[in-house]
């Protein structure tokens, strides 16, 4: 922010001023672009259906979002420990979650779980999302079910 005193005394010409503003602009925009690009490379999370997880051989520890239906008869609760199976009809992935599941977490309903695969192939969820609507199935889950041919749209949209 400091500048040679000779310039300050004379004041900056219109050209110099514009140049300073443009230089400042360029610096901030460059900083922001770099940040955004770095963050997009490192901080985004991919959405996978159980079939995707198997097909892409997702490595253990990589944060992903796993979406599908909670398989009927798979939900077991012991205190705050929950285990359930996420399915898209073609493939199943066992998942585990500690804590309070959302109100609308039900067997046969759509679910999106955030977390990563453990070394034994079990999905360790850190967060489970289910929308606050009894007919809701997350859009990503609908797409995944359609892709595996398991989509039966009788339960509303």
């Amino acid at each position: 922010m400091t500048m040679p005193s000779t310039i300050r005394k004379q004041g900056w010409s219109r050209k110099q001023k514009r140049l300073a503003v443009i230089a400042g602009l360029a610096v901030v925009v460059a900083l922001a672009t770099t940040l955004v690009l770095v963050a997009l490379r490192d901080q985004i999370v991919f959405f996978y259906s159980p079939s995707d997880v198997v097909a892409r051989e997702v490595a253990a520890g990589t944060p992903i979002r796993l979406g599908g239906l909670v398989k009927d008869g798979s939900w077991v609760r012991q205190g705050q420990d929950n285990s359930f199976t996420v399915t898209d009809g073609a493939r199943d992935i066992a998942a585990r979650y500690t804590g309070i599941l959302p109100d609308l977490f039900r067997e046969g309903q759509g679910v999106v779980a955030e977390g990563s695969l453990g070394p034994d192939g079990t999905f360790m969820a850190t967060n489970v999302l289910a929308k606050h609507d009894e007919n809701y199935i997350p859009k990503e889950v609908v797409e995944a079910l359609k892709a595996s041919g398991e989509w039966r749209p009788e339960g509303g949209e």
Binding site: M1, R14, K17, V28, V38, V45, F47
Partner: protein
């Protein structure tokens, strides 16, 4: 009968708005007469939409289920306040609320703007009418709120239980008042571009409208955040959800606009940029209201997504936003620039502020829209969550907060940075001291928390330093200082309070993120658990009947570290009409901190209980409330009430003739 009356009023308002828009743009040069006609048209639109809105409210209040909207979203057992708020708890009704606020702002301009140059007033009102016409047309043709249902059902389907909360009664109207208020800035920008004339008087007119909208939006976002915090029961106060981002982007742009309009008003500089920002801010508001409903963004907030409606919305958005930018591209060069200044000056500081805020808007926009683009282009589904935004937005805000306290201490045109720094040395020393003290006491080793605390304290103390400096506190007798302090212009006070509020919010965010503690455990009645010095005892478990729900209630007794005890009640409700369950978390406030307790579904008589201790979390919202207070205070400033704009407007009008 009243339903048809409301429907007719809406259609009539649409017709008047369309005629006003066409006539206004065709004859804006014809002086007083057209301005008068458009003013009356604006007031008429307001009255008609008020009638339509009242008709809807009446149908909901009287549980008239022959109205399809009421049958789908209301229930006769619902408490009155939720019957009313249920009107805008759905797509169609919220459109009517949106239009109602739009025409209310239009009528306000028509009423308070009689002193505006006639051509400017005509163009502003014509643009407002164009917006009303577009969105009233959209409502009538694709989302008619007045559709009947015959035969009428005996009982309604009830409103989504999550929305049955006082939050819904307050949050959307505030948020919409903020969004829609920016339409005035937009209309002024369009008027400036069409007429090719823009001066300081223009900025003096635009700034109070920006301030008003910004204040509403600040309150709306803060309210929404608190609502999500206590109602969704996840304990989080901000999720970087697309809808939150959509409301946050116009806030950031509006904040930038507030500051650039200041430069324009005082120094007649940054004209083109201010016009550009006005358009951007309202465009982002439109994006915020409508992108969510087009169904292309999925979010916890989305209601009613219908593909055909989505297409119409996108077309409408493209026309309004695209049209405005096309006009800007053709006409911006005709606006003349003025006002020279050195880089180190108040103007320079405000440009820096705009630069960072605008870039932050860009970063948030990329994060919000990138998943959509990637999905459309590559077919890959990704989610861009909190880590992305914390990294990009956080990094961009840090330098802005660092230089913020300097701004108000710099003189216009050319300033002395050294002297400003000298006046801030006390604030800096105090901020560093307090941060070191807190870090030492709480024992955080290496993390970003002390840095965040330092920034927060620096901004807060820096805001006070400005007041201290201007009142010459400590340099002249105390009584004299007090008199000076009281005599300071309200704008100086509101600047200081708003900046102080930002510091407070930052402190709240940092403290909660750094020191939050959490415990998930299984408790049976009679057992207790402990968290951060608080003992939480589970007393008993009951099932109670509410007005339109059944409730499983958990009663808890909390013993605070100081020995005081308080009762907490967390419940899980099942709504009769929809069968939907909701969780109502129990929240107890201790000073600025809160204890947050959530009850899980019972299994074989055991209960999972999740408890959070959230230190200083209320500072986040208190800071926002301070900012809003500053906004209202600034609106009462003397210069907005008397003289200046009137004279300037008159001379501008004479120059035009």
């Amino acid at each position: 009968m009243s339903i048809e009356l409301g429907h007719f009023a809406l259609i009539l308002a649409f017709a008047i708005a369309t005629v006003s828009a066409v006539g206004g743009f065709a004859f804006w040069r014809s002086g007083q007469r057209i301005a008068l006609v458009l003013s009356q048209g604006a007031v008429l639109q307001f009255i008609l939409i008020a009638v339509a809105f009242a008709a809807l409210i009446q149908a909901f209040v009287t549980s008239d289920f022959s109205l399809l909207l009421a049958a789908n979203n209301s229930h006769s057992l619902k408490p009155l306040i939720f019957k009313i708020s249920g009107v805008w708890g759905n797509h169609e009704g919220s459109m009517v609320l949106w239009i109602f606020i739009l025409v209310a702002f239009g009528a306000m301009v028509a009423t308070f703007g009689r002193k505006l140059p006639h051509d400017l007033l005509a163009l502003v009102l014509a643009t407002q009418s164009l917006l009303t016409s577009a969105f009233a047309g959209f409502t009538i043709f694709t989302s008619n709120p007045f559709a009947r249902l015959i035969p009428a059902p005996i009982e309604g389907n009830d409103l989504n239980p999550v929305l049955q909360d006082i939050g819904l009664a307050i949050h959307p109207p505030l948020l919409y008042a903020g969004y829609v208020g920016f339409s005035i800035c937009f209309s002024f920008a369009i008027a400036a571009l069409v007429s090719g004339r823009i001066d300081q008087a223009w900025a003096r007119w635009v700034r109070p409208w920006t301030m008003l909208s910004w204040t509403f939006l600040t309150l709306g976002i803060a309210m929404g955040s608190y609502w999500a915090y206590y109602e969704l029961g996840w304990g989080g106060w901000w999720f970087w959800d697309p809808v939150e981002n959509a409301s946050f982007m116009p806030w950031l742009a509006g904040t930038a606009l507030l500051h650039s309009a200041l430069v324009m008003e005082k120094r007649n500089a940054l004209k083109i940029w201010t016009v550009f920002l006005s358009i951007i801010t309202f465009s982002l508001s439109l994006l915020g209201t409508f992108l969510v409903r087009s169904g292309i963004l999925t979010s916890v907030h989305t209601f009613a997504s219908d593909p055909t409606r989505g297409l119409v919305i996108l077309t409408l958005l493209a026309l309004v936003i695209g049209g405005a930018f096309a006009l800007f591209a053709f006409r911006a060069a005709s606006l003349r620039q003025g006002g020279l200044f050195a880089p180190v000056s108040r103007e320079g500081a405000l440009i820096l502020n705009n630069l960072f805020l605008a870039t932050a808007v860009g970063a948030v926009l990329v994060g919000t829209l990138y998943p959509l683009l990637l999905d459309a282009l590559a077919g890959t589904t990704i989610s861009v969550g909190a880590p992305f935004f914390n990294l990009t937005f956080g990094t961009l805000m840090a330098p802005l907060l660092l230089v913020l306290p300097f701004g108000p201490l710099l003189a216009w045109k050319r300033a002395d940075i050294v002297s400003a720094a000298q006046r801030l040395i006390g604030a800096a020393a105090l901020a560093i001291f307090v941060t070191i003290l807190i870090s030492a006491l709480s024992g955080i080793a290496v993390s970003l928390a002390p840095l965040g605390l330092l920034l927060g304290f620096w901004v807060a103390f820096g805001a006070i330093a400005e007041l201290v400096d201007r009142s010459k506190l400590g340099r002249i007798p105390l009584a004299e200082s007090g008199r000076r302090l009281i005599g300071l212009p309200r704008s100086a006070w509101s600047t200081a309070i708003a900046h102080f509020g930002i510091g407070i919010t930052v402190l709240g965010i940092v403290a909660t993120s750094a020191w939050e503690t959490e415990r998930v455990t299984t408790l049976n009645p009679g057992e207790s658990t402990e968290l951060s010095g608080y003992t939480i005892a589970f007393d008993r478990f009951d099932t109670v009947e509410g007005p339109n729900y059944l409730s499983d209630e958990g009663h808890f007794t909390v013993t605070a570290p100081d020995g005081g005890t308080r009762q907490m009640l967390a419940d899980r409700r099942t709504y009769v009409a929809s069968g939907m369950p909701t969780t109502e978390a129990a929240i107890e406030t201790y000073g600025f901190s809160q204890l947050y307790l959530q009850l899980g579904e019972p299994l074989d008589n055991t209960h999972v209980v999740r408890v959070w201790h959230k230190p200083y979390i209320t500072l986040i919202w208190l800071g926002a409330i301070l900012m809003a207070c500053a906004g209202f205070l600034s609106l009462t400033d003397r210069k907005l009430r008397v003289g200046a704009p009137r004279r300037a407007a008159k001379s501008a009008a004479q120059a035009a003739e």
